[in-house]
């Protein structure tokens, strides 16, 4: 496989094989347009959807019976649901990074993976958005966080990080959606014109908005697309920073720390790319897309993980160091408790997953052997979830007054919602793969063209 990056910054290794544009279009569009997909696809979907039903079940139970059904008490009034929020939002970040940041950096290798990465973002963020609402004591009133012209007059408290979250997450969902849909329009046009049945033509055609690839349209499209990318880039950094403010602006030892924003963003990319790999590896395998999602992609993703992971590890280091260096007895005790207290195993498990396994990524061998990478990604995502658990829960169980110290244990509802959300996520990914082109056809074609020119 060609190693040297070319002077024009285009690396042939990102598009193996040598099909014509028509073949590319055919191959990618084949999946959504195929009359039927192999049975194992649907088995996969069914499996995940069943787990997804668990989510719906537990959520309904939670809403009916009350927030007391999940593992919370008074020192630790936040639990799994908040952990899930932070985790899912983090995962979302990879998609935006790939599609926006890499676009601005003209990293063409993004082209074949940005579509499903963005889809992943959307679904992750959509899920993440539900948890804070479910986590309310009276979810029916969540809209009181908005400034509304109603007769019960008090306004939202603009100083509250939760209000910031509300704005940040909402903005993030909307912008990602626009960005994703914009990228889809030309491809939908392709599907429209490739579709055989009238129905599909009309449906895809409707969403293609009558795209016909006029040069003038492309011109504006390009500008708008780059604008959105330019807007999404600071947004994606801001979102997880704002999430981290929930903690940093609190007074609790273990929350109140200035390192959080960068360290959360890095963590987000870390887990996000892990999730990209978790999805990409099976995809390229089952749909024979090795030509589009090449080892080069995996290699690059691995490198990004290595970098962001290193930052996260640095974050852990700083946190402990500052706890010790601050000389603040509460901070010190908190850190000591994290390492050797009742929840110590979570801390060490986190280190093992996020810092330990990370070391393998130094080796190209590891970065380019898909299924090993897949395994690493899985472990790292678990570790990242546990990291958030360590931050959110263990800090709370040991705060200022020993009299109120108390441990908290999750209930089956907590686990139901966590695993259910995973099921729902993958089920939605299956639907996405079935209904929409999982790569940006026109960009791949463009890439192809550029490569040809370059030769």
């Amino acid at each position: 496989m060609a190693e040297a990056m070319r002077s024009d910054g285009i690396d042939p290794a990102v598009l193996a094989g040598n099909e014509s544009n028509r073949a590319i279009a055919a191959e990618i569009a084949a999946i959504p347009l195929a009359p039927k997909l192999p049975r194992r696809f649907w088995w996969g979907f069914a499996a995940f959807f069943t787990i997804g039903l668990l989510f719906l079940g537990c959520v309904s139970y939670l809403l009916a019976a009350g927030i007391g059904t999940i593992g919370l008490n008074v020192p630790a009034a936040w639990g799994f649901l908040i952990v899930n929020t932070v985790w899912w939002i983090g995962i979302g970040h990879a998609g935006t990074l790939i599609s926006a940041v890499l676009l601005l950096m003209r990293q063409n290798w993004r082209n074949s993976i940005n579509r499903f990465a963005e889809a992943m973002t959307l679904m992750a963020v959509a899920l993440a958005g539900t948890f804070p609402i479910l986590h309310l004591g009276r979810p029916q009133y969540f809209y009181w966080l908005l400034p509304l012209p109603v007769t019960h007059m008090p306004w939202p408290n603009w100083r509250s990080p939760l209000v910031w979250d509300f704005f940040a997450i909402a903005t993030y969902i909307i912008v990602s959606l626009l960005f994703w849909f914009m990228g889809l329009v030309p491809d939908l046009a392709i599907l429209r014109d490739r579709a055989k049945s009238r129905g599909k033509q009309r449906i895809y055609g409707f969403f293609a908005l009558g795209w016909r690839g006029s040069a003038y349209h492309w011109h504006r499209y390009r500008i708008a697309y780059y604008l959105l990318a330019a807007l999404a880039t600071p947004l994606v950094v801001s979102v997880h920073s704002v999430i981290s403010l929930d903690f940093t602006s609190a007074i609790i030892p273990g929350y109140h720390s200035t390192i959080f924003p960068p360290y959360f963003v890095a963590g987000a990319l870390y887990s996000g790319f892990a999730m990209v790999i978790t999805i990409a590896v099976p995809l390229r395998h089952f749909f024979g897309l090795e030509d589009f999602i090449t080892l080069k992609h995996l290699d690059n993703a691995g490198k990004v993980m290595l970098a962001s992971g290193a930052v996260v590890a640095y974050g852990y280091l700083c946190e402990s160091f500052f706890a010790w260096y601050s000389g603040d007895q509460f901070e010190r005790y908190m850190m000591w408790n994290r390492m050797f207290g009742d929840y110590a195993w979570t801390f060490w498990f986190m280190l093992a997953c996020n810092v330990g396994t990370l070391q393998l990524l130094w080796f190209k061998r590891a970065r380019t052997s898909p299924w090993l990478l897949f395994a690493l990604a899985f472990i790292i995502n678990t570790g990242m979830w546990v990291e958030r658990y360590v931050i959110v829960v263990t800090s709370l169980t040991r705060d200022f007054l020993p009299s109120s110290w108390q441990n908290v244990l999750p209930t089956w509802v907590d686990f139901g919602i966590l695993f259910g959300s995973l099921g729902l996520f993958f089920a939605m990914m299956f639907l996405f793969v079935r209904l929409l082109p999982l790569m940006t056809i026109f960009e791949v074609q463009e890439l192809k063209h550029e490569l040809k020119e370059a030769q």
């Binding site: 014509s20 544009n21 028509r22 590319i24 279009a25 400034p147 007059m153 008090p154 306004w155 408290n157 603009w158 100083r159 209000v163 910031w164 704005f167 940040a168 909402a170 903005t171 909307i174 912008v175 626009l178 960005f179 914009m182 030309p186 046009a189 392709i190 429209r192 014109d193 490739r194 908005l209 009558g210 795209w211 016909r212 690839g213 006029s214 040069a215 003038y216 349209h217 492309w218 011109h219 504006r220 499209y221 390009r222 500008i223 708008a224 604008l227 959105l228 807007l231 999404a232 600071p234 947004l235 801001s238 704002v242 403010l245 056809i441 026109f442 960009e443 074609q445 463009e446 063209h449």
Partner: protein
């Protein structure tokens, strides 16, 4: 039978490569055609300039609406804490502006993003589900390997037969009249 010029939207020619299309477009411009359009499966650098377009105020609008988003939400926040309902919250000053910047930032992005996206649609007059070029037999977006040049029939120098000949010489793969 031939359709009359009034019923036709224009003449469309398909080319195999972007280069061919560029060449054709350039030639058409030299000949003084003004009502030109081109259709490509993916953006082709410099094509729109060749056709004589290529300026957009979208960035300006985007910037403006971003600013509106920012100052709008800031105004709302100050109004709500200073005028509408001043409350002592945790002993913090009523106008805790540093806190207000966060929603400010988010709304900037939101406003700008909306304009960038919908501005693009409006500028391109999209959605437009029905369009004459779709009537062309040869016109298809499906393959990604066809590049079309359209000369609209309302072009002052529009002449079916001459055009056919010219496009022929530019080795168009297919030449066809597009009905309204």
């Amino acid at each position: 039978m031939k359709p009359s010029e009034t019923e036709t939207h224009g003449l469309i020619a398909a080319f195999a490569t972007p280069e061919a299309l560029m060449k054709a477009a350039g030639r058409a411009r030299e000949r003084g055609f003004t009502r030109l359009d081109a259709f490509t499966p993916y953006p082709v650098e410099g094509l729109v300039e060749k056709l004589g377009g290529g300026t957009s105020r979208l960035p300006v609008y985007t910037f403006i609406s971003g600013a509106i988003g920012f100052f709008g939400i800031l105004a709302l926040q100050f109004y709500s804490v200073l005028i509408a309902y001043p409350i002592d919250v945790g002993g913090r000053p009523l106008a805790s502006w540093p806190a207000f910047l966060v929603p400010g930032f988010e709304c900037t992005i939101l406003g700008a993003a909306f304009t960038a996206f919908f501005g693009m649609l409006v500028g391109n007059r999209l959605p437009r589900l029905y369009h004459p070029v779709f009537n062309a037999q040869s016109f298809s977006f499906a393959g990604g390997d066809r590049f079309y040049l359209l000369i609209a029939s309302d072009d002052p120098r529009y002449d079916r037969t001459k055009l056919r000949r010219m496009l022929h010489r530019l080795d168009a793969l297919a030449i066809e009249e597009v009905l309204e």
